[in-house]
């Protein structure tokens, strides 16, 4: 894999990690992200291969069409999340995690068996909006930056603080007049939209899309990103996604052991760093250290 392609994948991983971290910020462990990622990919794959008008006359796939796909994917994923989220988010803790796993697996089995999603083979020859990985990288970085900005803004918004309050104590938050169901639902929908957008870019980037893209393995991997980085800040998941995606490439000499290292990270991580590598406290400390250095 070329260096640029790896960077694109790191960026996509960081987006997925942000997606998992949003429900976690209000204490909800949802493993539905790969499902929405798959939905986004299928929207992109279907629109760009079946709807000729989108292709245009140029050699590369037009950028406005890509943006249109992202709009459609965000709408579809958001609508599904809204529909499914209300009943699912009544469940707590382990039940929520299980229900979202079931959702992802049902979706995978459906996609594997439906005619229009290409069955087990999937959809091939998805047109390329960019000539090389450089264009994808620029686009992914822009997308990631935008979502980082939104997630960073959340900390200072009513919504973000309500999410933190629910995470600390849902009942107390409700007593304080926070509409807990709506806040959780908003986080779930935002999470679905991020994952779907990443799916659109990934489908074009990979050139092909199939049911394997959204599976239980992917749920574990994205969860590992967040556990590793920490879910209380926006930076944590992003760092987790970037580092853990680059890690296998850095571990290339170790070869087959990369998944074991992965497993060890999520096995030992929760005990060593219950809040992940990056917590608000550690960030504050870093910031102070930086300032005293400058003086």
């Amino acid at each position: 894999m070329s260096g640029l392609s790896l960077l694109v994948q790191m960026g996509l991983a960081a987006l997925l990690a942000l997606s998992v971290s949003l429900p976690l910020r209000c204490g909800q462990l949802s493993l539905a992200t790969p499902g929405f990622y798959a939905i986004g990919g299928y929207v992109a794959a279907l629109l760009s291969t079946r709807w000729q008008a989108l292709g245009g006359a140029a050699a590369t796939y037009p950028l406005p069409s890509l943006l249109l796909e992202m709009g459609v994917a965000a709408l579809v994923a958001g609508a599904v999340a809204l529909l499914v989220g209300r009943p699912v988010l009544q469940l707590r803790g382990i039940y929520l995690a299980i229900a979202t796993i079931a959702l992802v697996e049902m979706l995978r089995v459906l996609n594997l068996n439906l005619e229009w999603s290409g069955g087990a083979v999937g959809i091939f020859a998805i047109p390329q909006p960019f000539a090389g990985p450089g264009g994808y990288l620029a686009f992914t970085v822009l997308l990631l930056a935008a979502w980082c900005w939104i997630c960073a803004r959340l900390d200072r918004m009513r919504l973000g603080r309500a999410m933190a309050a629910i995470r600390e104590d849902e009942l107390a938050a409700r007593c304080m007049g926070i509409a807990t169901t709506e806040v959780k639902l908003t986080a779930f929908v935002l999470s679905a939209v991020i994952a779907a957008l990443a799916g659109v870019v990934a489908a074009h980037f990979l050139n092909t899309w199939n049911a394997r893209q959204g599976s239980f393995d992917a749920s574990i991997t994205t969860l590992a990103f967040v556990v590793f980085g920490g879910s209380r800040t926006w930076l944590g998941p992003v760092v987790g996604g970037l580092v853990l995606t680059a890690l296998p490439e850095l571990l290339r000499p170790v070869g087959d052991l990369r998944l074991i290292v992965f497993g060890l990270v999520i096995l030992i991580g929760p005990a060593l760093f219950p809040q992940g590598l990056i917590t608000p406290e550690r960030l504050d400390w870093l910031g102070r250290a930086w300032k005293s250095q400058g003086r």
């Binding site: 462990l29 039940y95 995690a97 068996n113 239980f216 096995l267 929760p270 005990a271």
Partner: protein, 310 residues
């Protein structure tokens, strides 16, 4: 009508294995209130242990290519030893993924994540050592037993009858132990209220380890039996089983022993009833059940509703 009988036997024997598997899940859940996501991996190991113990050679793709044990056990002994091996692995999972977090009184969600990690490590160890290929336990290992018997017009594979028999036996033994024996009652006490149990002098730590050991044994035996009746479809086959097991578990009610059995039989029968032309969607049945059940009756068929304390 023999067709219907065939379906029934297929469904019940598949369900029996699901039940064995889910019993292990439910034991740990009832004691700790946490789901052990490494259970599927322990199941996988049980299958591989059985395969190796009956003298099966390692395929060409693993690091251990060509290796085979210097002895070959008869299937029954191999299954029992594999179960014990799986129990040891399960204890190891408890010591690495559960005990440290329990001492820290962490959020249960973190335990879920660390047990997932333990599962990933185990499965990939198997993949490195034994390769990704599938293995089959030869039917000839059941020396002396006919491959199939005729039962009221339908041919039933002996393996299927064995699966049902063993599952029934395990269920009876487990229930008797839980209800009648001192240690079984102690386990129930710990699952009811760990603090109270400790005040009464019940060592909670050893009861938890006991639950893990039994759960691992059940998973290991279920793995060996699936290896015999179907095949060992690579290191990841337990993961899919583990996910389906969740469906069984939730359907019957988390933490309920008869619930796990009922859930297993229902899922097994439902899968067997899926018509052949939709066989691709068979794997979705358990998840659909799981999802519907969570929406309609989260406590499951035989579970007790949980009220949250304020």
């Amino acid at each position: 009508m023999d067709h219907l009988l065939q379906i029934l036997v297929n469904g019940l024997s598949a369900g029996a294995v699901y039940a064995l598997f889910a019993l292990g899940y439910t034991l740990v859940f009832s004691v700790l209130g946490v789901i052990n996501f490494a259970h599927g991996a322990v199941f996988t190991l049980g299958a591989y242990f059985t395969y190796l113990l009956i003298g099966g050679p390692v395929g060409a793709n693993g690091a251990l290519a060509g290796f085979r044990l210097p002895f070959a056990l008869p299937f029954w002994l191999a299954l029992a030893v594999a179960g014990l091996g799986a129990a040891l692995v399960s204890l190891l999972v408890e010591a690495t993924a559960f005990a440290p977090l329990r001492r820290q009184r962490s959020d249960p969600l973190l335990t879920l994540i660390s047990s997932l990690g333990a599962g990933v490590v185990l499965v990939n160890l198997v993949q490195i050592l034994m390769g990704a290929e599938s293995y089959a336990i030869p039917a000839g290992t059941l020396a002396g037993l006919p491959a199939a018997v005729n039962l009221g017009g339908a041919t039933v594979r002996t393996v299927q009858l064995l699966l049902m028999g063993i599952a029934a036996l395990v269920l009876v033994v487990l229930t008797l132990w839980l209800e009648r024996s001192r240690s079984g009652k102690a386990l129930q006490a710990v699952s009811e209220d760990p603090l109270m149990a400790r005040l009464l002098g019940i060592p909670a730590g050893s009861m938890i380890r006991l639950a893990f050991a039994i759960s691992g044994f059940l998973a290991g035996v279920a793995g060996g039996l699936v290896g015999l009746s179907v095949s060992i479809a690579g290191p990841y086959f337990g993961i899919g089983f583990g996910l389906k097991g969740l469906g069984v578990l939730v359907l019957g009610g988390l933490g309920s022993v008869p619930g796990a059995v009922l859930g297993g039989l229902v899922v097994g029968l439902a899968e067997a009833l899926v018509p052949a032309e939709f066989s691709g969607t068979k794997d979705g049945v358990a998840y659909a059940f799981l999802f519907l059940m969570l929406m309609l009756r989260p406590q499951g068929l035989l579970g007790r509703p949980q009220s949250s304390k304020v």
